[in-house]
Symmetry: D2
Subunit: 157 residues, 4 copies
């Protein structure tokens, strides 16, 4: 499923990426591209992917971005480290349909000690279908905010 | 969501629960009816409820049958008692569509010390849309088979 | 599923709909409250409702708000009138869990000739679990923007 | 996603594949193997793939089996040819978990002029997680039974 790892690097200090357009104007801390095919039950009576599914695609993008950096989210959860989504925003540009092959670019655009901001671009061939942004926070099993493990190598300086 | 509780306890002989196998030829141990409306993302590009959703409806039926008998499945899980589906069968008779109001009859048709068999009939008005049968087994948090708690009051004699 | 219809029509000034943007600083054009129970497969391995589900709850809220005003979204689609989500934003405040009874307040906060903005507040008892905002646009079967039917009675003057 | 095409051929006349074990005792008409990774929202609060998801995996198996034979189910639907599930059965042997890489073997075990029977085996490494069987029927846009197009090359003699 994972197609390509484009960029991995540390962002310059002082980055604060507010806003959907601003966020994508900065060099990402890490970037990853996955390609996948739309499944039948992901589409709705109008024949297009239900808008709620895009958040599931974005989550796949985050998980595979993490894997591309050598980390398994499944392992993190087994170690008691969880990421919960605290904010999500999606702008829908064009519909995706059953059996479409989609390309999702996931970018880590901001990292603090406890939160990551990601941005997303979902395309079919060259066409932009959706853009999104999420903030995820690192919590323990009880849901309490904890520091992102240093082993992930992607925290604020 | 729960509309009506029809029968609880052993029904008189002659119950008309004809179904897919001998299990449903007997009077049910317990029976419950729920009514609910089909949600938009439960339907697929053909405009009908995706066939996988029926197993989710059946699960709702089991949970509400249990609640009608005074038990909360959420509480059971908190106590370390889980039910896992070991077998499921569905026969699809007619399509269900978005916004349809459906009526699901759930019957507990067989109880052993560790397993329950349920049967299901899903209808829209008088029309039978689907019939199903499942077997669920009682397990602990580790997935090991355990005896169904006597407190549920529905185990083999 | 629909529990209560609180307000229909233009509410008096001073309505307390503080939210995520200026859109919700105005009195809502219409408002509706639904109550529903979290289903088992809506929750994820951490035991909380998956963040993508909230967009499905919001859609239920919109559909029931419309119904409370005397309109059926299923009928609209049969007539060739569709609403597509063009933007969605969610802020997650606290987790929802299996079997929780949730209350969703849906407010129509802005109407133009072709678009509706809604805002949402999801609560369990008094606790705010999530807030959201969406923009939906009116399109025909081919996905082309069309005027919202006047029969809906909720368009810009 | 598609891993391997194992066998394609026509079944001997007189094949009637009743029963889950019998069905898999015969040489399949066609067989295909796909490999995929379990997604996060496919798992439930117990941390295992929800039992309803297996029917979605089986559908993916059918669609990819068809593709391996040179046919696109998306194209078929655009031409007005639909397949609806009329019966499904699953036996669950062991749980699948988030991030597991699963292998699904899909076999076309019986073909009539209007129906296909498929059988399925879902495995993680060598371990059998589930077996299933479905019957699908060929219908037109109105849901009326029609003959399976000869172009598919897999109908009864």
């Amino acid at each position: 499923m994972v197609a390509e790892r484009r960029t991995v690097g540390r962002v310059a200090p002082g980055g604060d990426t507010r806003g959907m357009s601003e966020a994508t104007d900065r060099p990402p801390i890490a970037e990853h591209v996955i390609t996948f095919r739309v499944r039948y039950p992901e589409t709705d009576p109008v024949g297009v992917v239900h808008h709620s599914r895009f958040l599931q695609y974005f989550e796949m993008g985050r998980i595979e971005l993490l894997r591309s950096l050598g980390h398994s989210y499944a392992d993190l959860e087994r170690q008691g480290v969880f990421f919960v989504v605290t904010r999500a925003e999606v702008r829908y540009r064009a519909p995706a349909r059953f059996d479409d092959v989609l390309t999702l670019t996931t970018r880590l655009v901001r990292a603090t000690h406890v939160r990551y901001d990601h941005s997303y671009e979902l395309r079919r061939d060259g066409t932009l279908l959706a853009e999104g942004q999420t903030t995820i926070a690192c919590v323990d099993r009880a849901g309490q905010l904890i520091a992102i493990p240093e082993s992930l190598g992607m925290t604020a300086p």
